[in-house]
């Protein structure tokens, strides 16, 4: 067992066992909603999986982003998740086990972020599932506009906007739609959402014990990734209004939204930024959209995809048509969220 680095402001035991102990706690707490299908607890499915005749939807990714990824497994949401170490992809085997466990014969859709390790392992898992005659399709989230300029959309990373892909595809699957239909919705969701964020401080990996990079005392980084990937602009910390302005106008430049259109807005805290500040940002985002005659159909404000205790937030905007609007209003319930 490794020693706890005592200058780390973390409530943990052995830094190497953070994920195992987190999962143990989670399963003790939510045994009515989730079950583990591997002895290492790295593959979790909703308690009623496989859900008869339904297309199975799975995800996976590194730990340290709660409620992402496992927080989205539940009724009206995802069927299963493979859980990696902090900021590390789960293994193909763990993904394959999830795919098997949620498969009902209707096929399985894998939804995950566009990160090398996750893509490689999910591709591998799909190949293996294919050898067992399980139909697997994938849609990779690419909502982070800061990670690659326009034109390189398919190389962008997936961040908080992934929530919408999960939500909408899951609602469609819950209605009994086919794998093709559910995949179409996931692709449409991904094509209709854009995210951009700002980080004011880094986070500390438990195994490392100190921040893996630094942001100066009076600085922030626009567009930094959720693992600390470099952003598009470093600079002095700006006001909430000017940050909101930068994020929203970058999003609207990348994905123009017409007057009269409906959107859903997601204000996501990265970990240490208080809810109070998310509402201050929402205020400005609301005014900006209202000024442009854009209708906010609904909004999600809170922590949806974190980076441990990073200070910062992101704004996601989802363009809604009638089909997506109907799906976004569907209820769901996981140990972390519920919508009636």
């Amino acid at each position: 067992m490794s020693e706890v680095n005592h200058s780390m402001k973390k409530v943990i035991n052995d830094p190497e066992r953070v994920v195992d102990e987190m999962l143990e706690g989670l399963l003790l707490a939510h045994s009515d909603k989730l079950k583990s299908i591997r002895v290492d607890n790295r593959s979790l499915v909703r308690i009623d999986a496989p859900v008869k005749d339904k297309v199975g939807i799975v995800t996976g990714g590194g730990s340290g982003h709660l409620p992402l990824f496992l927080g989205y497994v539940g009724k009206g949401m995802l069927d299963g998740v493979a859980v990696g170490d902090i900021f590390q992809s789960p293994s193909s085997q763990q993904m394959l086990d999830v795919i098997r466990a949620v498969n009902t014969g209707a096929g399985v859709l894998a939804l995950y972020g566009n990160y090398g390790g996750d893509v490689m392992n999910f591709d591998m898992a799909s190949d293996l599932a294919d050898m067992e005659n399980i139909r697997v399709e994938s849609v990779v989230a690419t909502d982070d506009i800061a990670s690659m300029p326009k034109g390189g959309e398919e190389k962008r990373r997936g961040v908080a906007g992934m929530f919408y892909m999960y939500k909408l595809a899951s609602a469609k699957a819950e209605q009994g739609a086919s794998l093709e239909e559910v995949k179409r919705i996931a692709e449409k969701a991904n094509a209709s959402v854009r995210t951009m964020g700002v980080a004011l401080s880094p986070c500390t990996l438990p195994e490392v014990g100190r921040p893996t990079f630094t942001i100066k005392d009076n600085e922030m980084e626009i567009g930094m990734g959720i693992h600390g990937e470099p952003g598009v602009k470093k600079g002095k910390i700006e006001s909430a209004d000017s940050i909101a302005e930068t994020l929203v106008s970058s999003i609207l430049e990348d994905m123009p939204i017409e007057k009269g259109n409906n959107v859903s807005v997601l204000i996501n805290g990265l970990g240490a930024t208080p809810l109070e500040e998310l509402y201050i940002v929402y205020r400005k985002v609301h005014h900006m959209l209202a000024d442009r005659g854009i209708e906010i159909h609904n909004r999600y404000i809170g922590e949806f995809a974190t980076s441990l205790e990073m200070v910062g937030l992101s704004v996601s905007i989802l363009k809604l048509d009638d089909e997506l609007k109907e799906l976004i209003d569907e209820p769901f319930s996981t140990p972390f969220f519920s919508q009636n």
Partner: protein, 217 residues
């Protein structure tokens, strides 16, 4: 490219890799400590020890080269969680298709096996030459393999493949990492040889040693 390579030889080769990985466990970890999380030697050891168990057990009398490769790939994959799991597993699974249902293969088959092996890894990992990964070892090897003439001696020809792989492996020292864990180090990654490039070289080099020994016997 006359060469006779049997399922028995394949099993011997795999056993040899098991040994080589055990011998190089600390060395690979040391390389990974400078660039990543220091576990590459342990990872390779875990994967190949798992394969070793299969070699002593269900593969002991296996005569189908394809099935040997499939079991090797799958075993490696389920034993290993890190990046190299799907990479090497894909290599063996793709190679398996070339040699399936064969108890004995020709030099031509072996060439095609390694081409499929390397192309599988490239496809899986999407790394490019210069990214400071095992692809820097494997790409020159692939090019050298493709140039092998059906007229030349396979063992001699494969020596050139290994030499190209070695040059590729050594080139990773001066590269800036762009893939996997070590990419986080940025500039600091320069100056150290990539662990995956090293284990990939060992895999090819051990194959050369195996066929050389085979020939001299």
């Amino acid at each position: 490219m006359t060469m006779k390579f049997t399922a028995k030889d394949l099993l011997t080769y795999l056993k040899n890799v098991v040994e080589v990985m055990e011998e190089n466990k600390d060395y690979l970890c040391e390389l990974d400590r400078k660039l990543g999380d220091g576990d590459h030697g342990v990872t390779m050891s875990i994967g190949w020890q798992a394969i070793n168990e299969k070699l002593q057990d269900e593969l002991k009398d296996e005569e189908d080269c394809g099935r040997i490769c499939i079991t090797t790939g799958r075993t490696f994959l389920s034993a290993v969680g890190s990046s190299v799991g799907p990479l090497y597993a894909t290599g063996f699974l793709r190679g398996a298709k070339v040699v399936q249902n064969k108890t004995e293969v020709t030099g031509e088959d072996v060439k095609e096996f390694w081409i499929a092996f390397i192309e599988g890894i490239k496809e899986r990992g999407q790394a490019e030459v210069g990214d400071k990964t095992m692809v820097d070892t494997l790409q020159p090897a692939l090019e050298s393999l493709k140039e092998l003439q059906s007229t030349e001696d396979f063992v001699e020809g494969f020596a050139k493949v290994v030499a190209a792989a070695k040059t590729g492996m050594e080139s990773t020292k001066d590269l800036l990492s762009k893939r996997g864990r070590s990419s986080r180090l940025g500039e600091r990654s320069i100056g150290n040889q990539d662990p995956g490039a090293t284990s990939a070289y060992l895999i090819l080099e051990t194959f050369h040693q195996t066929i050389t020994a085979n020939q001299t016997v």
